[in-house]
């Protein structure tokens, strides 16, 4: 870590914490069903700040009866209001929501940082602005659906069941809710049990926007609630972002039904650095690829494949850069790496990292003071990793980078594709023809060339192979919520 330095060092570190006063948390939250907050029938649970382990609020748990009520409310809103409303009017609601998100951006960013543990700098500069951008982008689609490539009168699917993860709570909500609403669907969304609070604030924003009751319903709970929701027969569309294991379970649940499904699941992306890459930019990209959001990113560049001839140089520069990362208080605007989201996730990162050492990889972390309360994990780099190691195969979902080397482009492709996942990949080289050749051969839904971890509402995102199916973002993300004007499923 950066030494604190003496007091006469004008560049010495000084904390710059963002005030949390802007967030007005209630002690407890109900479920948001049919336009109002109601009590849940399940056992309420607490959402904590992973940086301090303090309780932020108590949240209701939705059981099967609550799921039933929510799906019914969404169905009613779909048939009576939302699907009948002209697209141009739906658009105005979405624009309104986008504007309110911008107006309340600071509040959302602070709350996201508190509930998730991610650095405020990221929630302020990335999460929340991209959330607003998603609503703006899809708002504009609502009255242009006949240009989406699905014929002259594409239809909404109906009620969408949406289950989202804890790594980008509000951003994943936006990825799900904005296209669904633009296309004329209504939604029942379940945020992750460790990060429900920004979704509940979003429910307040829906009220503030006077969005018709039942168009957006937000029910909180854990796995059982999600299971009840995706399995509910009144649901026409399931959209899930999360682990591959749960994604497979959902695929089994919906088998034999007419439900349409999109799954955004795990990843084990290769970030490939060639010997002619601009090394300093590549190092920034590697750091951004794996340490952004504590590595809690399904498309994280968790496997660095570096060409043997430059491996020493790249690693030396990488370690020097990682030593400057500041780990700590998420609300401190200096912080690069925040808290791990939960004790459970921290245990998983510890377990997989231990397996890396046990299987013979070399572990390195910068000297790093971690706070005494909360969940923390120092940025970690494993070298001498082989493809067979668990840390090269399993998704760690933490700030842990596995480094492998290669000699030829074809070996890089072989190693990069040697995984059941296929969400993203990175390529670093100055040679244009090589970028395009690698991009063609990599089995990944998103390929970042000389950049990494870039997201945009207009850009489709989603995986090959066991990273799931369907796309979110762009025109393709819209199409995932529409049926062509012919009978859906027709051959």
């Amino acid at each position: 870590m950066v030494p604190t330095g003496s007091s006469d060092n004008v560049f010495a570190y000084a904390p710059a914490p963002e005030s949390r006063a802007i967030v007005d948390l209630q002690p407890s939250y109900g479920l948001f069903i049919d336009g109002a907050f109601v009590d849940g029938n399940g056992t309420p649970f607490k959402s904590i700040n992973p940086a301090t382990e303090e309780t932020l609020a108590e949240v209701a748990e939705a059981d099967e009866r609550d799921v039933e009520t929510a799906v019914k409310a969404a169905r009613r809103a779909h048939t009576r209001v939302w699907s009948r409303m002209p697209g141009s009017e739906r658009a105005k609601y979405l624009y309104r929501i986008a504007r309110i998100i911008q107006e309340r951006a600071r509040e959302l960013a602070v709350l996201e940082s508190l509930d998730n543990g991610k650095p405020f700098r990221e929630t302020r500069d990335i999460d929340v602005p991209v959330v607003a951008a998603h609503f703006f982008y899809y708002a504009g689609w609502a009255d242009k659906l006949h240009y989406a490539g699905l014929g002259t009168s594409p239809r909404p699917l109906g009620v969408a069941a949406q289950v989202i993860p804890w790594n980008f709570p509000l951003l994943m909500l936006a990825w799900k809710v904005a296209p669904a609403l633009a296309a004329g669907n209504t939604v029942v969304l379940k945020p992750a049990e460790t990060t429900p609070l920004t979704a509940l604030l979003f429910a307040e924003i829906c009220q503030q926007a006077d969005l018709p009751a039942g168009v957006v319903n937000i029910i909180t709970g854990a796995g059982a609630t999600g299971e009840a929701l995706v399995g509910h027969p009144g649901v026409d569309k399931v959209a899930f972002t999360g682990s591959t294991a749960v994604g497979k379970a959902i695929a089994r649940t919906v088998a034999g039904t007419d439900k349409r499904v999109t799954l955004e699941l795990g990843g084990k992306a290769a970030n490939i650095v060639f010997d002619d890459a601009p090394v300093d930019q590549a190092v920034e990209g590697i750091v951004d690829g794996i340490f952004f959001n504590q590595g809690h990113v399904c498309c994280a560049g968790s496997r660095l494949l570096v060409q043997e001839s430059v491996a020493d140089e790249v690693l030396a520069k990488l370690k020097r850069r990682v030593e400057t990362l500041r780990v700590g208080d998420p609300l401190d605007k200096n912080t690069d790496v925040g808290a791990i989201n939960s004790a459970e996730q921290l245990a998983r990162i510890h377990e997989l990292s231990a397996s890396g050492e046990a299987e013979g990889a070399e572990r390195w972390s910068p000297a790093c003071d971690l706070p005494s309360t909360g969940f923390w994990f120092a940025p970690t780099i494993f070298t001498n990793v082989s493809l067979a190691h668990r840390i090269a195969r399993e998704e760690i979902f933490g700030p842990v980078l596995s480094v492998l080397t290669f000699r030829t482009p074809s070996e890089a492709v072989e190693k990069a594709n040697n995984t059941p996942y296929g969400l993203s990949a990175g390529v670093w080289t100055d040679k244009g023809s090589r970028i395009l050749s690698m991009a063609n051969q990599l089995k990944a839904g998103v390929v970042w060339a000389n950049t990494f971890n870039k997201f945009d509402p207009t850009s489709p995102f989603g995986g090959f192979k066991e990273s799931g199916y369907g796309r979110e973002g762009g025109r393709h993300g819209l199409a995932a919520y529409l049926a062509a004007d012919e009978q859906d499923g027709e051959r």
């Binding site: 490539g149 379970a249 695929a251 088998a255 839904g445 390929v447 489709p460 393709h476």
Partner: protein, 289 residues
């Protein structure tokens, strides 16, 4: 004395060759009236696995061809079929019990379907791809790519038009296919395999197994090196279709679900016949000097 017929042995089509089933099993094929026509190979689990290996081996080369070249080859299939039109008319009449006139219309529709799909090879990317105007200095392009090896359970009733309608969209987009033919009407599929073998289609791009979808289907649905499955051949059997979809979840295969009843294959196919078997890949690159 009447001349003794030279009867044909109907075999499987795997990796560009015509092997018998490794199991040694065959089954009796009758015409629509129930009269014995021939013995067909009864494909086994091992045959299905061999076919997957052949399809995987062929995938790199086939998906790497230019779209123009794939279009040429799919059009060539149509040409060769047209040349052998009387044979297909006979086979369809025999299998489906149609009048000569109706069988001719079916064969014409199958050939025309191939011509239609041939034209898609170099257009799908333009129709479903996108340049995306991201809010930053980046070039950003989304294009479709083939999913990989696709298991195709071909329709049971429409032995030729249905077959062509499920195979063509899979291969024209750059995938390779392991096809299970109609069980009771397999011979048009064997004739089709013989056309494929003489139409510049590389060996392994299409593999055709004659046999029963309920017995081979589960092995293909659960095979970890199959990327997608079309369940057209179990239309109407909701229980089996559900089982296959559940098995397909093991490696998250893309599933084209079974319709409630076999559709009218004469209708122009929807785009999803192709897009269900492609992946959208998005490539980013910074713009700068």
């Amino acid at each position: 004395m009447a001349r003794i017929d030279v009867r044909k042995t109907y075999k499987l089509y795997i990796g560009g060759a015509f092997p018998r089933s490794e199991s040694g099993h065959s089954y009796e094929v009758t015409d629509a009236g129930g009269k014995f026509v021939a013995n067909a190979s009864l494909a086994s689990r091992k045959d299905a696995r061999d076919a997957v290996v052949a399809a995987r081996k062929a995938f790199g080369g086939w998906s790497g061809r230019t779209a123009y070249n794939r279009a040429q080859i799919v059009y060539r299939i149509a040409e060769v079929m047209e040349d052998r039109r009387p044979q297909f008319v006979t086979a369809v009449r025999q299998a489906e019990g149609l009048t000569a006139a109706r069988a001719e219309r079916v064969v014409d529709a199958a050939i025309d379907r191939l011509v239609w799909y041939a034209g898609w090879a170099d257009k799908l990317t333009q129709v479903v791809g996108n340049a995306n105007p991201v809010a930053g200095p980046y070039f950003n392009l989304s294009t479709p790519e083939p999913t990989g090896v696709v298991a195709v359970l071909a329709p049971q009733e429409s032995s030729l038009l249905g077959l062509v309608s499920v195979v063509a969209p899979v291969i024209v987009t750059g995938n390779t296919a392991v096809v299970v033919s109609s069980y009771e009407r397999p011979l048009p599929a064997v004739n089709f395999a013989e056309v494929l073998a003489t139409s510049d289609v590389p060996g392994g791009v299409v593999n055709i197994l004659t046999g029963a979808a309920p017995t081979i289907g589960p092995w293909l649905a659960s095979h970890m090196d199959v990327n997608a499955i079309d369940l057209a051949g179990v239309a109407g059997d909701a229980a089996l279709a559900t089982d296959l979809e559940v098995a397909a979840a093991d490696n998250l295969k893309r599933v084209r679900r079974a319709p409630a009843a076999e559709p009218d294959w004469n209708a122009e196919p929807p785009l999803t016949a192709m897009t269900d078997f492609v992946e959208i890949k998005t490539v980013w690159h910074p713009i700068g000097v």
